[in-house]
Subunit: 396 residues, 2 copies
């Protein structure tokens, strides 16, 4: 009767794992065009002020605000237009009392002017404008540095680059950016029962179509990594040893599925010095970690939970990503029960502020993964939640 004599509490196991993972220092320079979703390897300091000078925020007339204070729709103020410039041009004229310069959005404010009247707010006749409403000093002006100040840190090392981050980089004149190289993550799938081709006869006689590799490749890509699949390795001690040693040499992180339990044919844990093996999580209890290797379950549903409870954080730390899953509050549509002592990963379907637990018996069940879009955790000291209770969920 071999079994997990002691299950390591999830939080302890997590801490051992995360403390063992060290951030990789491999950096590559990427053009902005290829940097979406990548992790910034350096702080970005603004090389310029944005805007770089005081600018008009509208199409209109640069004036001295005090000239307009008495302007009313039925007693307009007359000003003389002394210059007109178009987009990207600069006026050499100085705006003095009684004068105005016509300009466009983004134009540098002419000397002397301190406000801009929108063109819709004036009537124009030849070189005269009739101002219908007053403007305040500073009105319709974008001031130097009001968006970004020179030397300010606009993006921090670890930022996962989004479209708007690429925009600010481009607005500051960057064409490329230093990002972390994607960690190479080896996937080793073990099991004599696994087949790769649909064959109904073999399936009925007890074989199983291997699916963990497809899921893990997708998860690794979603969480900062580049997968490398070493194929299905039969339950042969020497072959498993060889595959693990090769993957450890070639990859930054290794995931082995199907060899984590203590069945007679589960060899994986023999070749890796594990910091823990067997935790309180459910599903996925037999998970183990050591030497940048995770030994994981064979069941897809258990592997999925092990990935979300451990592996994604390991990947985030390897690339130094500023990653924290967003937790949101939602109302539970059905009660959900859990055993004391289990850190339970419950698949749920979130919609409109409510979550429905997707409970199906058996950790072999893939359809529950497909029907859910988020998870909630019931920690070791809780027996679950009642219908209608508020819970915290995380989207996949």
């Amino acid at each position: 009767m071999r079994e997990f004599k002691r299950l390591t509490p999830y939080r302890d196991a997590f801490n051992m794992m995360i403390n063992d993972i060290e951030e990789l220092q491999n950096v590559e320079e990427m053009l902005l065009d290829g940097a979406l979703g990548r992790v910034l390897a350096e702080d970005i300091h603004a090389p310029i002020d944005v805007p770089p000078c005081d600018r008009s925020a509208v199409d209109g007339y640069a004036v001295r605000a005090e000239d307009t204070f008495q302007a009313r729709e039925y007693s307009p103020i007359k000003l003389e237009v002394i210059d007109e410039i178009t987009a990207g041009m600069e006026s050499k004229e100085e705006v003095t009392n009684g004068k105005a310069v016509k300009l466009m959005t983004g134009n540098k404010m002419p000397k002397g002017a301190n406000a801009v009247i929108m063109q819709e707010m004036v009537k124009r006749e030849g070189n005269t404008i009739y101002v219908l409403r007053p403007v305040a000093p500073g009105q319709n002006v974008s001031f130097k540095g009001e968006d970004v100040k020179k030397d300010e840190v606009v993006l921090k090392k670890g930022q996962i680059l989004r479209p708007q981050d690429l925009a600010i980089l481009k607005a500051l004149g960057f064409k490329s950016v230093k990002v972390k190289k994607k960690p190479l993550v080896g996937i080793i799938v073990t099991g004599d029962e696994l087949i790769e081709e649909l064959n109904e006869e073999e399936l009925i006689s007890g074989k199983i179509l291997e699916s963990n590799s497809a899921m893990l490749k997708g998860l690794i890509r979603e969480y900062f990594g580049e997968p490398h699949f070493y194929g299905v390795i039969p339950d042969d001690e020497a072959k498993i040893k060889e595959a693990i040693e090769r993957a450890k040499r070639e990859c930054d992180l290794v995931l082995i599925t199907g060899g984590s339990a203590f069945g007679e044919k589960d060899y994986a844990h023999k070749f890796v010095k594990l910091l823990f093996h067997g935790t309180t999580i459910k599903p996925g209890r037999p998970v183990g970690y050591g030497e940048r290797v995770f030994v994981m379950s064979g069941y897809p549903s258990a592997v999925f939970a092990q990935f979300h409870l451990f592996v994604k954080y390991a990947l985030a730390k390897l690339v130094g990503a500023n990653y924290k899953p967003v937790t949101i509050k939602a109302k539970l549509k059905n009660k959900v029960a859990s055993s004391l002592g289990r850190h339970e990963f419950v698949k749920v379907y979130y919609e409109n502020g409510e979550v429905l637990p997707i409970k199906k018996k058996g950790s072999g069940i893939i359809s529950a993964l497909v029907e859910s879009n988020a998870y909630l955790i019931i920690p070791e000291d809780s027996e679950g939640h009642r219908e209608g209770e508020e819970v915290e969920v995380v989207f996949y």
Copy 2:
């Protein structure tokens, strides 16, 4: 005084746009490995039951449950082990009363057996096992079709493929899958004031570093499309006309930034038959749409709102994606005001169930986009929300 005489209410503008967009029928066959994030072009019917037969869900002994009903730790029941099989094998023996077959997780249930005893629950001596606890009929058995039934639709046309969806496809024997081709989205940026290289002198004299293309490329990639950038086109009527005509010929959707207002140099709307031009949204009021072309603002912040309020839905419809942004409830940390008649897109920073509005003056402000991670909408008939109110937000 030209202006938008009538602003089309957001909801009306949205409906005109979405009703005009037609789903593209271009399909490509992708290996599962390249299908992450792609949109399924067909319903997927299960070609097999999963499991394909009744199977053991654990490593242990297949028995007739009734033989074990009297088993107790201090008065175990004796059974004879008549066969042993390993992963992927099938036993040819029949389990009758008093007999057991040793098997592993996933093995087909032998004839006659109706339950499996976990190996930890027995003591073994030679070919005899001592059963310490009873098992119920069906216990530790995965029944044929309990995960997926043959012919059942497991994934629907329009599904955006996630790692777990790829896993179920692989578990059903699929090696590739039909997905929608990515729509090609042309980006035309207009404006004489725009430069592509950092040049402080030019910036101070009124030029602006172009950044919309970087943002739009990223957004298009995040929302099902493939961007194609036609570069910065000067404010020249003939050149803009030519670029629009070329992009309309070559692309499935065209986004033009910087030519949507009614300034003298805003030509874009002259060459596209717009269904609407000028809406109640803020920022981004001058947005227009017609003939698979969006005319958008020059300001990145306005373009960003226009993308999230209109363009992402157009892209989802083009590929027939089952896409609906997830709305979540959160508590407002500061009050947020809006004018009646405006459908306001408010950038917020979400953390731990609370949102902080990121309000900065000026629609030219990019830093507010970078500091926020979600948005909320204040519709036309609301003047905003008080501090502490519950609001609905959408993550970028």
